[in-house]
Structure formats: structure tokens, C-alpha cells
């Protein structure tokens, strides 16, 4: 019984780490980042990349991998999500779906889909620990719980007390008003993506050391918003395909929207704005 309880807490902690990434991005930019699971995988592979180059340096490797993931999150916002401003949120969510697929494909291209174990390369062991109640968990299980608790305490303090955190929540509610109050909300949104990348990397690193590292680790992430998604794995791509087809046909900004915009452009062409005098 205590074993079940301990395992539940450990698994919940891992999901909590993943969920932190979802919540950060959602609260700031109102986009559900379906690539969060793959950003977790990316964090694991960043660790693998670093330990392959410099083995036997756990602290350095983990810090570098987490920093690389945060940088990746920042870059994803600047390159992919920022151009989606002013478009329907749903379109931005679809971009994250594509991003997840691309990330996974890129990882397979570079590292193949072999299962990896970065733990020996780090020079660490993962011995089982006996808890007071009689349950047995691994050392990295305990570490997962500790890291999740620390991250949540840190995030709570950051979002509640620090000026930057309050500004981030403000920008998440009303970006325009935030801008009118001097807040560079684009920077804060990028920061929220970077923090999500950081949280994802922590989850990925812990899971890679504790269990295994393979490109489909990100499926764990889909269980957070999807619940039963794991059991529907074979159906997933079919479901996304249907979703995208439905979006294209029915969503007001879809095919119909493109047609309407094209027609409006033709109709309004004679009425378009023309300056009366050459611009000075």
C-alpha cells in the first residue's frame, strides 16, 4: 500500500514538472503547447549530447542541458509563435503540434530511435532506497519529487511576488494593456517559453536517467492534457489529421476565410488606400 502511494507521488511529480511547462505557456500566451512533451524529450537529448561530449560531469551537464532547452524555448517563441500573433489561438496550437512532430523527427534523424541511457555516462548510479513505510523507490524517483516541489515553490514565488512574474500574469490577461503600461510583453512571452523549456528539460533529464531516453518520450506529455491519450496512441495521428481537415474546412479562418479574404481583396482593390501626395 505504501508502495502504491510512493509510486503515485513519484509519477505525479513527473507529470507536475511537465504540467508546469503547459501552465507557464498557457497562462502567458493562451496557447496550449502540445509540443511540451517533445520539448521534454529534447531536454533529455540535450543532456545526452552534453554527456557524450564531456562525460562524468553531472552538475555541468545538467545545467548546460537545461540552459540549452530554455534557449530552445526562447527561440521557438521568437521564430514560430511570435508570427502567429493576431491569428486564431487554434492556429497557434496547430503550429505547436507540427513543432512536436518536427522535433521528434529531428531527434530520430540525429540520434536514431535507439533507447539510450545517459546515467552511466554521467558517472552516477541509481540505487534503490527504502522509505520509512517500507516502500522502495529509486534515488532519481526521490530526486523527481524534490525537483518538482522546488520548481513549484519557485514558480509560485516568482509569479506571485516578483515584479517580473506579476507582469507576466498581467501580460497573459491583457497583452495590449500590458504594453500600454510599459511592459515588453513579447519578451515576457519568450521568457515563459524559455521557462517551459527549462521545466520540460528537468522532466526529460530526470526521466532519461531514471528510466530510459528514446524519441517517443514526449507521449508522456500528451497524457497531461489528454488523459487517455496514451491508450489511444495508434489513433493519435489519425485524430490530428481529422482535426486539421476539420479546421481547414469549417473554421471561419480556414478555406472559407481564405476565399472570403481573396474576394474582399478583389472587391476592395479599387477602393484601397492611396496617398494623395507622395510620402515625404
Amino acid at each position: 500500500m505504501t508502495q502504491v502511494l510512493a509510486t503515485t507521488v513519484v509519477v505525479a511529480s513527473l507529470y507536475a514538472l511537465l504540467a508546469a511547462g503547459y501552465v507557464l505557456v498557457y497562462r502567458a500566451t493562451r496557447v496550449l503547447n502540445l509540443a511540451q512533451g517533445d520539448m521534454m524529450t529534447l531536454g533529455g537529448y540535450f543532456l545526452f549530447l552534453v554527456v557524450s561530449a564531456v562525460p562524468g560531469q553531472p552538475a555541468l551537464s545538467v545545467a548546460t542541458a537545461a540552459a540549452l532547452s530554455a534557449a530552445a524555448g526562447f527561440a521557438i517563441y521568437r521564430l514560430l509563435m511570435r508570427p502567429m500573433a493576431g491569428h486564431p489561438i487554434f492556429a497557434a496550437v496547430l503550429v505547436t503540434v507540427t513543432l512536436g512532430i518536427l522535433l521528434r523527427a529531428a531527434i530520430v534523424l540525429v540520434y536514431t530511435d535507439r533507447i539510450r541511457h545517459p546515467l552511466p555516462l554521467l558517472g552516477l548510479a541509481n540505487p534503490p532506497r527504502r522509505l520509512p513505510g517500507g516502500a522502495v523507490v529509486s534515488t532519481f524517483d526521490l530526486l523527481t519529487v524534490a525537483v518538482a516541489a522546488a520548481l513549484f515553490l519557485g514558480l509560485f514565488a516568482f509569479l506571485r511576488l516578483s515584479p517580473l512574474g506579476i507582469q507576466m500574469r498581467a501580460a497573459g490577461e491583457k497583452a495590449l494593456l500590458a504594453a500600454q503600461r510599459g511592459i515588453n510583453f513579447q519578451l515576457l512571452f519568450a521568457l515563459s517559453w524559455a521557462l517551459a523549456g527549462f521545466a520540460g528539460a528537468l522532466a526529460g533529464i530526470l526521466y532519461a536517467n531514471n528510466v530510459r531516453l528514446d524519441p517517443s518520450l514526449g507521449v508522456l506529455g500528451l497524457r497531461v492534457p489528454g488523459g487517455a491519450e496514451y491508450y489511444l496512441f495508434p489513433l493519435k495521428f489519425g485524430a490530428f489529421g481529422l482535426l486539421m481537415a476539420a479546421f481547414l474546412v469549417f473554421e471561419p479562418q480556414g478555406l472559407v476565410g481564405i476565399w472570403r479574404r481573396a474576394r474582399n481583396w478583389v472587391v476592395l482593390w479599387p477602393l484601397r488606400y492611396r496617398p494623395l501626395r507622395p510620402a515625404s
Partner: protein, 269 residues
């Protein structure tokens, strides 16, 4: 006297086709309240948004003219930069962060930097804000979403003050508020001008309230400035009296034909 804020022939187009304002010029001298009057859709809010900055998502372009603030051309700069320079807007709606507490609202901003040469910018503190708006002090821990309309307007003014503005742009201070609250708020704006030396551009439909404290006024119709002058001149103008203050020379109720006449006359205002 050189103006703190000056608009020259500003033209704004929405979605590449809809011209919202055309050739708007106005001046806000330091330490004065300037009123911008006009009916719905006249382009008042667009003018303020053009001054305080558009976002890419607004799909609006400034296609002509310029905004000059402290002798620097700031046309088309992003809103957060303009706010830090000291052009701070109190918007018409969406003026407080409803999911944040009052205290957090007062912290959710980046005040403009104060370097050595900026002596004209008042260093507003939290204590000062609570001194001007004592109601907010008692509601610090409440969510801003639970505030009443007047309290929200006070909170919006308070956060705008903490941004350390040079020019306060106020959009529809009186919108949806009881006459007594409007009177209090307008008096407060006048007090801020006197005590902090703020320049205020006051956009209003409630012309009576605005002209009570303003020193100069502009009247907008269909995206153009159609009339301007000192408050005395505006108050003496017969059409302004009739259309904005409702104190025309004709006594009694107007008949339908007279209203039609009114609309036709207004077009040639």
C-alpha cells in the same frame, strides 16, 4: 510655448482600406488639460491609440503625418516604448487586469526611466497614489475584477500615474459612470495637473465635464478636427452649445423635423 505633444496631419488606416482619421493635428502644451470632443465613431479613440502605439494585431497603419513628443518624432513606435517615454494611456475599456489584485495591478507596470535631464517627470510613489485614491488603499488585496466601475477607473488612473507619465491620455473618463463620480474624477484629473504638472489629453463625449477643467478644446467629426479653440470660445460657439452641451438657443422640446435639420446642419459644422 513649445508643445509637449504635437500631432501633425496624422492619418490612420485600418485593414489597409478603412480610413479612420485623416489629417488630425493637435497640440498639448505642458501642464494643461486639452479636451478632444466628438461623437461615436468620430475617431477620438483611434487618435489616442495612434499616439500611444498600435500592436501588429490591431492591423492599423499610420500612413501619413507624425507624432512629435518632446521634440522627437515617435510615430509608429511600439506601445511599451512610448509608455516608458511618458505617453501613458488610460484606455476606454480593458483598463485593469481583472485576475490580479489591486496591489498587483499597481505593480504590473514598467515605469519610465528617470535620467538626469528628466526633471519634469514627477516621481510618483505608492503612498502618493493612495493619497490621491484613498478608496484603493482599503481594497489592496481584492481582485480588480470585483471593483466597481468608478473604482476601476481610479485604479486605471493610479497605475497610469505610477508609469510616471508626462502626458496622460485619458479615453472616456466618464464612460458608464454616475454624474457624481464623473465630477470627482474630473476634479482629480485637474488636481493631478496642478500638483504633478501633468499634461492631459482628455477624450470625452461628456463635453460639459471635460470643458469644466480643460483650457483648450478640439472637436472631431468623421475623422477630422472640425473646430478648435480656447474653452471660452468653444463654450460661446452656438453649435457646440447645442450639439455637445444641449443648451441650444431654442427652448422646449425639438420636433422630429428639427432633429433632421440638426443632423444636416451638423454635417456642415
Amino acid at each position: 510655448m513649445t508643445a509637449l505633444l504635437e500631432l501633425e496631419n496624422l492619418e490612420v488606416v485600418y485593414h489597409h482600406v478603412a480610413t479612420a482619421i485623416q489629417g488630425v493635428s493637435l497640440r498639448v502644451p505642458p501642464g494643461s488639460i486639452v479636451a478632444l470632443l466628438g461623437t461615436n465613431g468620430a475617431g477620438k479613440t483611434t487618435t489616442l491609440r495612434a499616439i500611444s502605439g498600435f500592436l501588429g494585431a490591431d492591423d492599423a497603419q499610420i500612413v501619413g503625418g507624425k507624432v512629435v513628443f518632446e521634440e522627437t518624432i515617435v510615430t509608429g513606435r511600439p506601445p511599451h516604448e512610448l509608455a516608458r517615454r511618458g505617453l501613458v494611456l488610460v484606455p476606454e475599456r480593458d483598463k485593469v487586469f481583472e485576475t490580479l489584485t489591486v496591489q498587483e495591478n499597481l505593480r504590473a507596470l514598467v515605469p519610465g526611466a528617470r535620467d538626469g535631464r528628466e526633471t519634469t517627470r514627477p516621481p510618483v510613489t505608492l503612498e502618493q497614489v493612495f493619497h490621491y485614491f484613498p478608496v484603493l488603499a482599503g481594497r489592496r488585496r481584492q481582485l480588480a475584477g470585483y471593483l466597481s466601475g468608478g473604482e476601476r477607473q481610479m485604479l486605471a488612473l493610479a497605475t497610469a500615474l505610477l508609469c510616471r507619465p508626462r502626458v496622460l491620455l485619458v479615453d472616456e473618463l466618464s464612460l458608464g459612470l454616475a454624474p457624481l463620480v464623473v465630477e470627482t474624477l474630473i476634479a482629480l484629473v485637474a488636481r493631478l495637473r496642478d500638483e504633478l504638472g501633468l499634461a492631459v489629453l482628455l477624450v470625452e463625449q461628456n463635453a460639459g465635464a471635460a470643458l469644466a477643467v480643460a483650457s483648450y478644446g478640439y472637436v472631431m467629426e468623421h475623422g477630422r478636427i472640425v473646430y478648435d479653440g480656447t474653452v471660452d470660445r468653444l463654450l460661446a460657439h452656438e453649435d457646440v452649445r447645442e450639439f455637445y452641451l444641449g443648451v441650444g438657443h431654442r427652448a422646449g422640446r425639438k420636433s422630429y423635423t428639427e432633429v433632421k435639420q440638426y443632423q444636416r446642419r451638423r454635417r456642415w459644422f
